[in-house]
C-alpha cells in the first residue's frame, strides 16, 4: 500500500485521524469541519443528540459515506475512495444486522470466509470469538431465537473475529433494557481493555459515554463542541450545551464584571446585582468585560440549610424555599425557588440513619463555594 509523502510526519499512534472533514447531503451539512485524532487502543465515544453528525462521522470512517471535503486516515493511511470491504475496520450496527438466513456460527464466520481462511481456521476462530462473548455452544442456533443481549454479543463476535484495527459501534446498546445495558457497558469496556483494540463508540446517552470512555467527543449540529476525558468534560464544560448535556447544571445568566485572563478567573454580575466569582472553563476564550456569560453550578455542589443565609467569604449564599423534593434512592433531589430563579440541589444519603432536616415549603438558605462556579463565556 503506498504511503502518503507526509505520513511519517503524522502521529502514527493515532489509529484514526480526521482532518477537517465535512460531509454535506444536498443542502444539509451533517458534519462540519471536524478534526479528530483517535489514539490507538483507546475507547473513544462520539456523544451528542440525534442529528448531531456522530453517526455520519462513524459511517465515513467505516467507508459507507465519503467526506465532501477533508481527509480520513486509518493507521496513518488516507482511505479516500477505499470501499468498506477493503478497510480493516468493522462495525457493530445499531440493530445488529445479523444475517437471518445463517446460524450463529455462519454469521460470526462471515468475514473470515470473505478472506478465504481454511474451514478449520474459521471454525477455531469462530469458537474463540464466541468464547470471548460468552456464547459457546450457540453455534448452530438461529439468530432470531436469541435474546437481544445474545444477538448483541453475536454482532460483537462477528466484528471482532476479523481482528480489526478499529471497531466501530453505532449505538449498539440502544435496543436493550436498562439493566442489560448496564451489564453490557461493563462487558464492552472489559473486552476493549482485554483486546487493546481501538473502539469508536457512538451514543446519545451521556451515562454510557461517561462509564466507558477514555475520551468523549461532544458533537452538536455537525460540529465538535468539546473533547476530553469524562472528568475534564464534567468538571470543565466549555459551553452551556456541554454543561447541559453532560450531567445536570444550574445555570445563572449575567455579564462579565471582572476578568483575570492570566489566572483564568472571572466575575459575573447577575441582573439582580449578585456577583459570582469562578473559573473560566474555556482556556482558549478571550472575552471582554460586559460580555454575556453563564455561570454553571453542579447540583451536588449546592448546600442547603434551614434558616436565612449568612454571607461567608469564598461562598455565595441566597435565600429560598424548597419547592419540591424527590427521593431517588441513593440521593434526594430538591427543587428550590430562590432569588436567582429555580435551582436544583442534590444530596447524597450517607447511611441508613440519616435524617432529613429540611422539608417542602420550608425557608432555607442555599450556598456553594466559588470553586463550584463554572464561568461559560460561549
Amino acid at each position: 500500500m503506498p504511503s502518503p509523502p507526509d505520513s511519517t510526519s503524522r502521529d502514527v499512534s493515532a489509529d484514526v485521524e480526521l482532518i477537517d472533514v465535512t460531509k454535506r447531503f444536498g443542502s444539509v451539512t451533517a458534519v462540519d469541519h471536524v478534526a479528530l485524532q483517535i489514539e490507538r487502543g483507546s475507547f473513544y465515544s462520539l456523544l451528542g443528540p440525534s442529528g448531531c453528525g456522530k453517526t455520519t462521522t462513524l459511517r465515513m470512517i467505516a467507508g459507507f459515506e465519503q467526506p465532501t471535503s477533508g481527509e480520513i486516515l486509518i493507521a496513518g493511511v488516507p482511505v479516500a475512495g477505499v470501499p468498506p470491504y477493503r478497510r480493516n475496520v468493522n462495525t457493530v450496527f445499531q440493530h445488529y444486522a445479523l444475517f437471518p438466513h445463517m446460524d450463529v456460527a455462519r454469521n460470526v464466520g462471515y468475514g473470515l470466509r470473505q478472506v478465504g481462511v481454511t474451514r478449520d481456521e474459521e471454525q477455531r476462530r469462530v469458537g474463540e470469538a464466541l468464547d470471548l462473548v460468552r456464547l459457546s455452544g450457540y453455534d448452530r442456533r438461529r439468530t432470531w431465537e436469541l435474546s437481544g443481549g445474545q444477538q448483541q454479543r453475536v454482532a460483537l463476535a462477528r466484528a471482532l473475529v476479523n481482528r480489526p484495527t478499529v471497531l466501530l459501534l453505532d449505538e449498539p446498546l440502544g435496543a436493550l433494557d436498562l439493566k442489560l445495558r448496564k451489564e453490557m457497558q461493563l462487558e464492552l469496556k472489559g473486552l476493549q481493555q482485554e483486546l487493546g483494540i481501538t473502539f469508536v463508540y457512538v451514543t446519545h446517552d451521556q451515562d454510557e459515554a461517561l462509564t466507558m470512555s477514555d475520551v468523549i467527543v461532544v458533537m452538536r449540529d455537525g460540529r465538535v463542541q468539546q473533547q476530553g476525558s469524562p472528568e475534564a468534560l464534567y468538571e470543565r464544560p466549555v459551553n452551556r450545551f456541554v454543561a447541559g448535556f453532560i450531567g445536570q447544571s444550574n445555570t445563572i445568566a449575567g455579564r462579565l464584571s471582572g476578568l483575570d485572563l492570566d489566572g483564568g478567573m472571572a466575575s459575573v454580575e447577575t441582573p439582580t446585582g449578585l456577583v459570582l466569582n469562578g473559573r473560566i472553563t474555556d482556556h482558549g476564550a478571550r472575552p471582554s468585560i460586559g460580555d454575556e456569560a453563564i455561570v454553571a453550578i453542579r447540583p451536588e455542589r449546592l448546600e442547603i440549610a434551614p434558616g436565612t443565609p449568612s454571607p461567608t467569604a469564598g461562598w455565595t449564599s441566597v435565600a429560598g424555599r424548597i419547592h419540591q423534593e424527590t427521593y431517588l434512592g441513593d440521593q434526594t433531589e430538591y427543587r428550590l425557588a430562590t432569588d436567582l430563579g429555580q435551582l436544583v440541589a442534590r444530596r447524597a444519603h450517607h447511611g441508613h440513619a440519616e435524617t432529613t432536616t429540611v422539608r417542602s415549603g420550608e425557608s432555607i438558605s442555599v450556598r456553594w463555594p466559588d470553586d463550584a462556579n463554572l464561568v461559560l463565556v460561549a
Binding site: G63, F64, P84, Y85, N90, F93, F99, P100, H101, N162
Partner: protein
C-alpha cells in the same frame, strides 16, 4: 360450558357460511371441470365432433403424437422464465434500491402496458417485428434481410414482454423488504458487491424469485395467444394444440387427455422446483408458500 359450546358452534357455522361462496366457486369452476376433463379423457369422439361415452386409453396412447407441442411449450416456458428473471432481477433491484423519488413513476411505467388488452399488446409486436418494422430498420443499417416474425425468437420476445411484470413485482417486493443494513454489514465484513449479492441479496430474495418463477412459468406453459400471433402457427405450444383439438377438430376426449397431461406436467415441474427451491435457500419465507 353449555354457553361456550353453543358459541363455538355458532362461530363454526359463521366460518362455514363465510367460506361457502369461495368453496362453491372452487367446486363449480375447478373441481367439476376437472372431473369432466378426466371422464372425457377416457371417452371417444362423436362423429360430428364432441364427446361419446366410452372407456378407452386410446387418447392417452395417442399423446406421443403431441410430444413436440409439449416439448416446445416446456422449453419456451423454461427459456422465457430464465429470461424474465435475467431481465427482471436488475430492474426490480434498481426499483427497490436505487430509484428513489422516481420509484413510483417507474413502477407505474412497468404496469402501464397492463392497462391495454393482452391481445392488443401482442398484436402491436406483429407490426413491429414484421417486414416494415425492425427488420427493415436492420436492413437499412446493413444487417441484411432478417426474418423476426413467426420465429421462436418472436415468441420468446412476446413472452418476456408480456410476463415481465409478473416477475418484477414479487422480486421487487422481496428486494424492497430486504434490510439494506444487511448489505452494509456484509460489505463491512469484507464482502465485495458480487460476494454480497451472492451471499446475502440472492438468498434473502429467494422467496420473490420463487414466486416470480412460478407466476411466470405456469401461464407460459399454457400459453397459446403469443405463439399463435407471433409464431404464425409454426411455433406450436400444447396450448395451441388444445385450442385446435377443442375448437377445430372437436376431438374433446383427446383434448381432455392432453389437458390432463399438461396439468400433470405443470404440477410436476412446480413440485420439483419447490423442493429444490426450499432446500437451496434456508429462508423462512419459502416454507410459507
Amino acid at each position: 360450558m353449555v354457553r361456550s359450546g353453543a358459541r363455538r358452534w355458532r362461530s363454526r357455522i359463521a366460518t362455514a357460511l363465510l367460506l361457502l361462496p369461495a368453496a362453491t366457486w372452487y367446486a363449480l369452476l375447478l373441481l367439476v371441470p376437472l372431473v369432466i376433463l378426466v371422464v372425457f379423457s377416457f371417452g371417444g369422439r362423436a362423429p360430428e365432433g364432441g364427446y361419446l361415452p366410452d372407456f378407452t386409453f386410446a387418447n392417452y396412447l395417442e399423446l406421443p403424437t403431441r410430444a413436440t407441442a409439449f416439448v416446445n411449450a416446456l422449453w419456451m416456458a423454461l427459456g422465457g422464465t430464465v429470461l424474465c428473471l435475467l431481465v427482471g432481477f436488475p430492474l426490480a433491484y434498481y426499483l427497490a434500491t436505487r430509484a428513489g423519488s422516481q420509484r413510483t413513476l417507474l413502477l407505474v411505467l412497468v404496469v402501464v402496458p397492463f392497462w391495454t388488452s393482452f391481445l392488443i399488446r401482442t398484436y402491436a409486436w406483429l407490426t413491429i417485428l414484421g417486414n416494415n418494422g425492425i427488420p427493415s430498420l436492420l436492413e437499412d443499417l446493413g444487417f441484411g434481410h432478417i426474418v423476426l416474425l413467426n420465429t421462436p425468437f418472436a415468441v420468446l420476445l412476446g413472452i418476456v414482454y408480456n410476463y415481465l411484470p409478473l416477475m418484477v413485482f414479487p422480486l421487487y417486493v422481496s428486494l424492497e423488504r430486504l434490510d439494506k443494513r444487511l448489505l452494509e454489514a456484509s460489505k463491512d465484513l469484507g464482502a465485495g458487491r458480487w460476494a454480497t449479492f451472492r451471499q446475502v441479496t440472492l438468498p434473502l430474495s429467494s422467496a420473490g424469485v420463487l414466486s416470480g418463477v412460478i407466476l411466470v412459468f405456469i401461464p407460459i406453459m399454457g400459453e397459446y395467444i403469443i405463439p399463435a400471433l407471433l409464431g404464425g402457427g409454426k411455433v406450436f405450444f400444447i396450448g395451441n394444440a388444445l385450442v385446435d383439438l377443442f375448437l377445430q377438430s372437436r376431438n374433446w376426449p383427446f383434448g381432455s387427455a392432453a389437458a390432463i397431461v399438461l396439468i400433470l406436467v405443470i404440477l410436476t415441474a412446480v413440485t420439483i422446483y419447490l423442493r429444490v427451491g426450499s432446500r437451496g435457500s434456508g429462508s423462512r419465507e419459502v416454507s410459507l408458500l
